[in-house]
Amino acid sequence: MVYPPPLCGGGRYAIVTFFLVQFVTGLASASSLFLAACGLSIIFGVTRVVNFAHGAFYMLGAYLAFTLASRLAGDVGFWAGIILASLAVAAIGALIEMALLRRLYSAPELLQLLATFGVTLAVEDIALLIWGPEDLLGPRAPGFKGAVNLLGQAFPTYDLLLIALGPLVLALLWLLFRRTRWGVLVRAATLDREMVAALGVNQKWLFTSVFALGVFLAALGGALELPREAVSHTLDLQIITEVLVVVVIGGLGNVLGTFLAAIIVAELNAFGILIFPKISIVLVFLVMALVLIVRPWGLLGRAEAAARMAGGASLARWRPFDKRGRLLAALAVAAAALFPFFAGDYALSVATEVLIFMLYAASLHALVGAGGLVSFGHAAYFGLGAYGASLALKQLGLPMEAALVAGPVLGFAGALLFGWFSVRLSGVYFAMLTLAFAQIAWSIAFQWSEVTGGDNGLIGVWPSAWAESPAHFYWLALALAALAIALLRVIVFSPFGYALRALRDSELRAEAIGLDRHRLQWIGFAVAGAFAALAGALFAFLKGSVFPDTLGIPLSIDGLVMVLLGGVGTVSGGALGALLYKTLSIWVISETDYSKLVLGLLIVALVALFPQGLLGAVQAWRGRDARLQGATP
């Protein structure tokens, strides 16, 4: 990292050269970012899959290159190690494509993102198993160990190599796409997949080869960073966020746009460190927001055709609970209220956590199910609720009761801000933008340690005296969660909820009967955010503390897994999905150190076995039953 020069001495000339060097360093970082991002972009262009595992492949490339470059010592060994590592990861990627993604190309995009997220989780723990938790410093590149004099400042020669490499790869890709038969097919498939298939091209292998190329580029990007940065097992989520920001700015599926965006993002990072040392990522976010307002599909991107994001329309018609349903729900709540009479403290705290996540999942389900808005960053609002409540208690000295209001207020405000931008987009762009916003919220919580405590979090967030005992807090959580979930159902069946569903079913038709998509979805997003924030506020009091991971990507994805388990096509099955998933994951975490591996593989298996979702599988199975009965004379 380069620090600003001391202000005394040096004069204007020194500052100019310093900024120049900073600029050139930014260019060097742009190269590996470009490699990773254009891999994602190419894969999306052809297969329409947003490969969330791209960050994991980047990280694997770096780790494997570390091992190979260290083993194959010598000048040739280093470079051979980098190439071999990238090829090996590409082969792994091709295998995953064949075994997993091939089953999912016609499934809703939600499932593809979930499946690749499952892969990411599993890879993270595998990397931890093989390479350990320590950061690994790779060898320097032979022949590029020194520095050159750049206007009086020492500048690493390796960075110069990287700067040359970016445009070189861009040129090679251009040749590949323009001058080879394979490239022509890839471009044709990017424009119209169905037509290419109708012309008799073997799509299977086209997709596999494109996926392998994209993964190769990601791994190469990771491997090439080896001499510059330490390899760690948190690299995957860090890089995927940057890559998503880059492709959103550049335009998905456009290689040149990705190149430009990589430079913009890398330079913003390089200079952001100087201008806002604490919250440099905010600068990137501001630029991304600006680009999206002016060009919703990125700098060089094209508008996407109608997305099939929303996990398929519900097969069964939605109705409010009838008398029997209401009675059953009331009985379930009453039965849950009896739990403290025979459960111990640990079981009660687990049960409280499950209740909190039922509310969190229900809030996401309302957004995904009724709104058709698949947010990949819903944890942002859970976390804002948790931080809002904790800060109200610790900084403002408010009692718990007021803090439980302050949390949702902050969550609502945050969702209003982020939602305004997000609902302007739809489908994959919406998913990625919400994810990027959540990651930005996470970075702020992580970096702004004066207020948020940074990595150490805020501790001592205890409930008021009357709610202190585990049983009392359990009842409080039960009452609030039951009430909030009931309220969410009321909203889903209200005119507002119907308006959201109308927009989900047919945006064109809904706008043509006078429904304002942006405003309705914006408020819907904020309302869902407020409910998630209530869950977050309760969570902070349950744990007595709050940490940045309450805003993290894993929590956002957990929510989607719960919704998927419960059935996207149901009104509020997400709450039941949460009951199942949370209980399971708490149990897995208590049983093994490699819970991410287990949960990741579980998600992959679930998605691979039931590409239509669990509920879809049940309904398809029932349908088959009905047909069989009909066929019997």
């Binding site: 409010p320 069946f493 507002f496 119907y498 038709r509 706008e511 043509a512 009967i513 006078g514 429904l515």
Partner: protein
Amino acid sequence: MKVLAVENLGKTYSGFEAVKAVSFSLQAGEILALIGPNGAGKSTCFNMINGQVTPSRGAIEIFGRNVVGLTPRAIWRLGVGRTFQVAAAFASMSVAENVQIALLSHHRRQWRLAGWAARFYVDEAASLLSLVGMKEQAKRSCGELAYGDLKRLEFALALANEPRLLLMDEPTAGMAPKERGALMALVAKIARERKIGVLFTEHDMDAVFAYADRILVLNRGALIAEGPPAAVRADPDVQAVYLGAGTLYGAAS
């Protein structure tokens, strides 16, 4: 009373003049057909009026108000009903609920967070559905409707807005021949009773000549004929560019 007035309307796409200086007007209760061969500029013309395409030149006035630059949503709010060439409705809702959400929107109740939406405007929705002959299907899921029924449902959605102007893009496209006449007869009857001005594009000439009060003929972006069906049918220009040398429609009369 004029409900729609179009003056010198034109649209140029990167040098290509898709619509050239088209002018016409539409009275309340009148049924006006916009016809022309494929590529004549019907859809461009139509989409400029409903707000989906911004005109390059000219003026469009609806109920005496300039609507150039308004969104489709704002134009609907003026009291304009609209149906699509490819019918679209809300697949996850019942037929009645489809009409109810249109009524809720018309009465600006779409922001209400409480109260079951399915209990609003039950009677109004039922009477609209029986008007278009879909009373029996009210409880059915909209996703399982036959295409002809979907077209009729769309008509009910448009009527939910209590329109004074109806814009219908190929209202009978994709329907069985028998259904077509029935739908157009219904549109004509309601338009006359409620003094609604109707502008529609159509490829089915039987429907056009049987139900339109007046016909506009577009060819290569320009208006080449305008008048009552009999006059348009006899127009030599129309026969030359549109009907070709055949006398199919003349013979049928």
